[in-house]
């Protein structure tokens, strides 16, 4: 080695020790660094490698085009249209305040909400400014593009309900996926900002209508720029749904209702196919296309006439005199009456100390079952009802499909109610009172039915005793023999009822006599559903009552009489008497459908004298 020659020899001796201390400290620091490296690169490697991949790879979901909803002849009722959406990427905007102020002034964006959204959005992700902007706004934005860096237009598919509120209840609407729905499904099917069928066919056939999602996996840099495409899966389009609805018939039904409230349902008596489905008041599903505004939604919910209720399947009403069809059938089948049996109607019926009125104050005199149905004599059916007893009445109600859900492909169908003695004990904890049988005999009291049930009931009369299952989905080759259940009713019984229902329209005192001059041969039964129970001797002063306390008008019918092609149930809420208010709506529905069939050569044109037939 070498020797120290300078005068600072003492110092140079000491520095060796100090370098040694230094090197110990250095080794300590480097050990610490190595341990940290081990921690990050070995122990935490998987987590951090995952984060690195997350940084690098963006998976963009691409939506499949949602299937259309078509009428029975392929006319689109719902389809998807392109819509423009205005978005911005906050990082690319030069002057956010100015940009938002400008857009607020020019195309009325919600500035406050957007500011919130910008705060909660990850960097380099887009924020939606306004969905579904109109053509003028698109043109305006395109013109001012240079002034608006970071703002851009996107094309999105929007649900388009061609006819506004027409058939809204059956078509339904889309809404933002709820937290619950999202958690139940898998991320391959839905993303958090998806819209999903929340009502009607859109909801029930969500799986069919919804396409399969595709994706695009891209490599991005920190600025979010797409560098290259790593993988692509094309989305699958959804399947179209062919409904059984007939566009023209539906349209006519909606028009016939006008501003009136209520429901109408028309079915093919042989197949159960729903031809028209009206629920009024209605709503416009287009309002839901991009998420309904909360004020519109609140208004719909708060409306005392419940526009969101699906009346044909969810509205439970007393069937009123339409129930007499079932009463007549039960009495004839049970042998309580023959076609010749007559009861005397003095205008009221006495049971114990109570008196029950017939709607005709002066009474109908001696009536048989035919006349009782034609003129809707209450007293005749009071007598029949007491003889049958409530449980027999319930048994036959069920044969006609009351008290059970029809099984139509719509959500939340209501079953109605066919009371029995056991039911009352169970539900009301009280024994059955005979007087209640009297009320039930004319379809009041506890009896409740939905319009679709009554349409099925009258269809069963029309088709010779087959209880069909209503359907809204077009299928090939359905017949009553395949889709329906044959009831044990005798043909003679049905013949008597059919003749009587024809009489309601065709005979002079028939309650729907006003339809006698119509183009086709109709058969039907009117009814009145009491909304407020009236006292025994109270006068029926329709015009003086508040609208919401007025009675509902029923009309159930089918046509043509000898070759039924359509069965209809109409309830006009708070409209008074069935013959005057509900029957014309039913007639218009039937006429529209039948003239279509006639033009298509599926039925023969009616001969004139048939329509003139009187008693």
């Amino acid at each position: 080695m070498f020797k120290q020659r300078s005068g600072s020899g003492v110092f140079l001796g000491k520095i060796r020790r100090r370098v040694f201390i230094f090197s110990i400290l250095l080794i300590g620091c480097l050990m610490l660094i190595s341990m940290r490296l081990w921690h990050l690169q070995v122990l935490q490697h998987e987590i951090l490698a995952g984060k690195s991949e997350n940084n690098r790879i963006r998976q963009l979901r691409t939506d499949g085009l949602r299937g259309r909803i078509l009428d029975r002849n392929g006319i689109p009722l719902v389809d998807s249209r392109p819509s423009f959406q205005l978005s911005l990427i906050p990082e690319d905007v030069e002057d956010m305040e100015w940009t938002l102020d400008f857009l607020e002034k020019e195309i009325s964006i919600d500035k406050q909400a957007i500011k919130e959204a910008i705060k909660s959005t990850r960097s380099f992700n887009k924020v939606t400014l306004k969905r579904d902007i109109n053509r003028e706004e698109v043109a305006f934005i395109e013109e001012r593009r240079i002034d608006l860096p970071g703002v851009f237009l996107e094309v999105k598919a929007a649900r388009n309900y061609e006819n506004g509120d027409m058939a809204a209840h059956i078509l339904g609407y889309l809404g933002a996926i709820s937290q619950k729905q999202y958690e139940k499904s898998s991320p391959e099917i839905y993303s958090r900002d998806d819209f999903i069928g929340q009502y009607g066919v859109e909801k029930v056939f969500e799986k069919t209508l919804r396409g399969g999602k595709g994706f695009k996996r891209i490599e991005v840099d920190a600025a979010g720029r797409e560098l290259r495409n790593l993988a692509t899966k094309h989305p699958e389009s959804g399947t179209d749904i062919h409904l059984t609805l007939d566009y023209e018939t539906q349209k006519a039904a909606e028009e016939a209702f006008g501003d009136k409230m209520g429901a109408a349902i028309a079915i093919d008596p042989d197949t159960g196919e729903v031809l028209a489905f009206v629920s009024k008041p209605s709503f416009n599903p287009n309002d839901f296309a991009f998420g309904i505004k909360s004020d519109v939604w609140k208004k719909l919910l708060a409306d005392e006439f419940h526009p969101l209720q699906e009346r044909p399947t969810q509205g439970q009403y007393p069937p009123g005199s339409t129930f007499k069809i079932i009463m007549a059938a039960a009495a004839l089948e049970e042998g309580i009456i023959t076609p010749e049996t007559k009861f005397y109607c003095p205008g009221h019926y006495r049971l114990g100390r109570r008196s029950y009125r017939c709607w005709k104050k002066g009474g109908h005199g001696y009536v048989d079952v035919h006349t009782a149905l034609v003129r809707s004599c209450d007293v005749f059916f009071y007598n029949v009802g007491i003889k049958l007893g409530i449980n027999k009445i319930a048994e036959y109600s069920r044969k006609f499909g009351l008290g059970v859900r029809t099984g139509v492909e719509l959500a939340n169908e209501k079953p109605g109610l066919t009371p029995t003695k056991e039911w009352k004990l169970r539900a009301k904890k009280e024994p059955w009172i005979k007087g209640e049988t009297v009320s039930c005999s004319i379809g009041q009291g506890f009896v409740l039915a939905t319009p679709i049930q009554l349409a099925r009931m009258v269809a069963m009369v029309a088709n010779g005793g087959w209880l069909v299952t209503p359907t809204i989905i077009k299928k090939d080759n359905i017949k009553k023999e395949t889709g329906g259940v044959k009831t044990s009713l005798k043909d003679e019984t049905l013949d008597i009822i059919r003749l009587a229902l024809r009489g309601v329209v065709a005979e002079q005192h028939g309650t729907a006599w006003r339809l006698r001059k119509g183009k086709y041969t109709y058969a039907g039964k009117t009814g009145t559903a009491q909304v407020v129970k009236m006292k025994q001797n109270e006068k029926w002063e329709h015009e003086k009552m508040q609208i919401k306390h007025r009675d509902h008008a029923w009309f159930v019918s089918y046509a043509p009489y000898d070759n039924p092609k359509i069965a209809v149930a109409v309830i006009a809420e708070h409209a008074g008497h069935g013959g005057s208010m509900a029957a014309p709506i039913a007639q218009r529905i039937m006429d529209t459908y039948l003239s279509k069939l006639e033009k298509a050569g599926l039925i023969e044109a009616p001969t004139k004298d048939e329509g003139q037939k009187t008693e």
């Binding site: 520095i15 090197s23 070995v42 920190a222």
Partner: protein, 371 residues
């Protein structure tokens, strides 16, 4: 023949191993800079590695110049050199332009130069000179420390004002390490340590809000994932995703796709660690360790006290820069603008470190000069 023999003998005393390690580290830096900007759209960024090579060449020339001037001559020039350094710091204050929120650059012939970097060298020389001038063999007392402390405090305050706390801290480190190597009384060490412990909370009060935030963010990077914490998180992701063997040379995605900010300067170590993994990182750290020990060994074998002191000064400067920089990329220390010696991009720091190495080689080369 004798003269020729002497020349060859002297040449053998030149520490070529040290120079070789420096060049190796610089080459690693060039490759890392090249890799980190491989996919950049900007031609400027893509060619940064060429600029780095240019700077390395320039720095090698500067190193050679420094090496061949006898360091005793340099010792005599200590005060003028220090004055030039201070003047250039004042110039930064007046004319310098702002980069990254602080004023620390000086435009010089087309290149931006950071005078605070070169100030480190002049401070090392001056403090070593002052301590050497004392001609004391025993440990220094408090009064002995006042003079070097004053000369360190001037650039510290000036640079801290820019504000560039990282570099300012280096001046304190240089002062402390040189006087510690020179020897001070144990009592002072103990008392200073105690005083610092007491003053640390007060120090906190003098930090600017952004500096406080950096320290707080370090403790919990996720609290501010888009702001201060972003760099820490992304650096940890880069290093951690490298794993044991790394993603492979030129395969690092964190750096290339720009997730890692300041990737070719302050976070170059993260770029390396992502691509070569734990194994490569340890090799790099070992290389640095070997390098630093080589410098320190020069101090032990130096001919005189001044030579030893400038060598430990340079050694401490490089060591502190390295440890702090790596600690910062690993999320162990708050983020300040301290670069990794020889591998980070940047002309000023390259020049400074190479000049420092020039001094070390100078001391090593002349250890037998009197023979």
């Amino acid at each position: 023949m004798t003269g020729e023999y002497l020349e060859r003998y002297k040449w053998r005393k030149f520490d070529s191993t040290l120079l070789f390690i420096v060049l190796l580290l610089s080459a690693i830096g060039v490759i890392a800079i090249y890799s980190s900007n491989l996919q950049s759209d900007s031609m400027f960024m893509k060619s940064l590695y060429l600029r780095q090579i240019y700077w390395i060449s320039l720095s090698l020339v500067a190193m050679g110049v420094v090496m061949f001037i006898d360091y005793h001559t340099i010792e005599r020039m200590a005060y003028p050199l220090y004055t030039v350094g201070i003047i250039s710091l004042i110039l930064v204050d007046i004319t310098g332009h702002t980069g990254g929120g602080s004023q620390r650059w000086l435009a010089m012939g087309g290149f931006n130069f950071q005078p605070s970097e070169i100030m480190k060298i002049t401070l090392i020389i001056l403090i070593a000179r002052i301590v050497d001038d004392m001609e004391k063999d025993e440990e220094m007392g408090v009064l002995d420390l006042l003079k070097p402390a004053f000369f360190a405090a001037v650039p510290f305050l000036m640079v801290a004002r820019q504000p560039d706390l990282g570099t300012a801290l280096i001046f304190i480190i240089l002062f402390a390490s040189i006087v510690l190597f020179a020897g001070i009384r144990k009592r002072i060490i103990v008392k200073t340590a105690a005083l610092m412990a007491i003053l640390a909370p007060l120090f906190w009060l003098f930090l600017k809000p952004y500096q406080k935030k950096r320290i707080l963010t370090l403790l919990d990077p996720e609290s501010d994932p888009m702001g201060q914490g972003y760099q820490i998180i992304q650096s940890k992701i880069a290093i951690g995703s490298g794993g044991l063997w790394g993603k492979g040379l030129f395969e690092g995605t964190q750096s290339k796709l720009n997730f890692l900010p300041a990737k070719h300067t302050d976070f170059i170590f993260s770029v390396v660690a992502e691509e070569v993994g734990f194994v490569g990182s340890i090799i790099l750290i070992a290389l640095f360790f070997f390098f630093i020990m080589r410098v320190m060994e020069t101090a032990i074998h130096s001919r005189d006290k001044f030579g030893a002191l400038i060598t430990v000064g340079v050694g401490s400067m490089i060591t502190f820069n390295l440890l702090y920089n790596i600690g910062m990329t690993l999320g162990l220390l708050p983020i300040v603008g301290l670069t990794a010696p020889f591998i980070s991009y940047g002309g000023s720091s390259l020049l400074t470190n190479f000049i420092g190495i020039g001094l070390v080689l100078n001391v090593s080369y002349r250890r037998f000069a009197s023979e």
